[in-house]
Symmetry: C2
Subunit: 261 residues, 2 copies
């Protein structure tokens, strides 16, 4: 749900997860939620995520589609030392610049590995698109890079998180969406009509309703999000009234115990 | 990496994950890996995944792009009882058919809830695009549906898994890709050159190299995938020789202990 009041600045991002191992089900992605949380914390709207395989044409096509439609693009995966790591080359091609040896990247890898002469695999990771800035990798040395509005990061979650931590302060966010959560002791069907009425009264507040499994059956969490804190508080009070009335009708007292999954 | 030998039939699928809560980082997706594994087990290549928000135009655009380019599309999320659940309506619009009350869906919901008169929320979940087949929901009653090559499922992981289990036997898979995994006691840089040479000898085998953190540092798993088992075995032997030689040079004996994360 877009929020477009005049005082708000919307900064939009996309994530591009690259890796055959995610699509085959061999590996469960753990990076998307980290990128999503960094965006939310920084006032950036993560607008779309795509997961694609290690395929040159697919990466170029997806990256060009996403980078022209968003303020930032974050990619993960495919910047390691082996033949199937083709992301750096694909990014260079997408931007129409050469992929070339970057001595600073080689030095960082050599330092981490404690050797002066890099293996061919190490040298592969020192190939960086011309004009890109390096992204620090405190875990294993081999850097990611930023080119234009695209941040290219590793797929290994420990390394990706470290890189993300490094780039987060460099991003220019927009209006930060504040959020409030209202717990509900019944399934969402029961409050659906009242909730829809609150949403109509507050069209600029995004009101989401999410089921969760409680010990005694299905419960609900209502999550409200808005850049305007006053409006958010008013909408939250309206939802809370709906929920309190429902609880009272049904004699429900909500405790943390009730909500434990 | 596509595999196109004449005897192979490639069946391709996409997944479309729908939900603001995934993009905000409130919820970590747990469905993609389940869909990916079902596809791999059934001889279906999961080719692309997209995650988008609960937005009518975005859902219609993404769904139409994906369903025309793939044999199957699996969607998750947005078929609950509240105002923010708009997937069923978006799918109906994408297919150009009316979204209408389906008595059989209402009956299944009523039976599960143990009541004859449905709430407005319950009735909302009984709205199904004309011509769609219902997908059974043994967990909470409210069905998903299949229309054309699109399978529309719930976002709650427990329900999604049950629906997936139901539809899996109805899918026509292609040639099943067999896979072999070769564990390696060193980081992937060390074997990168030899591995690339094996890949050149076996262009129809997809050879992926994945780092993992071991107790004493970074290890590697090499995963080979191919529809032709003989070719796969030959390539696996070639990789194993490379790895054995590397282990011998470095005096490494690989045990399950070494590999424990």
């Amino acid at each position: 749900m877009p929020m477009n009041s005049a005082s708000e600045k919307i900064v939009r991002a996309a994530a591009l997860v690259i890796g055959d191992e995610i699509l085959s089900g061999r590996t469960a992605d753990r990076n998307i939620v980290e990128i999503a949380r960094m965006c939310t914390d920084g006032g950036i709207v993560l607008h779309e995520v795509r997961i694609i395989g290690d395929d040159m044409d697919e990466i170029i096509t997806a990256l060009n589609a996403l980078r022209h439609a968003h303020d930032y693009v974050f990619t993960t995966g495919g910047i390691g030392p082996t033949h199937d790591d083709i992301t750096a080359e694909a990014v260079a091609r997408a931007f129409g610049v050469p992929l070339e040896h970057r001595q600073e990247a080689a030095d960082r890898i050599a330092e981490k590995f404690g050797r002066k002469v890099l293996t061919p695999g190490g040298l592969r990771m020192a190939r960086i698109p011309r004009g890109a800035d390096l992204i620090d990798n405190p875990v294993s040395g081999a850097p990611g890079f930023r080119i234009g509005n695209v941040f290219v990061m590793a797929g290994v979650p420990e390394i990706m998180r470290a890189m993300l931590h490094g780039i987060a302060p460099t991003l220019a966010g927009g209006t930060r969406l504040e959020s409030r959560t209202v717990p509900v002791g019944v399934g969402e069907s029961t409050i659906a009509t009242d909730l829809a009425a609150v949403q109509e009264r507050f069209p600029d507040v995004s009101i989401g309703s999410y089921p969760l499994m409680g010990k005694q059956g299905v419960l609900t969490e209502v999550v409200l999000r808005c850049g305007d804190v006053n409006m958010l508080e008013n909408a939250t009070r309206a939802v809370q009234q709906v929920v309190d009335a429902c609880h009272e009708r049904r004699g429900i007292t909500l405790t943390s115990e009730t909500r434990t999954q």
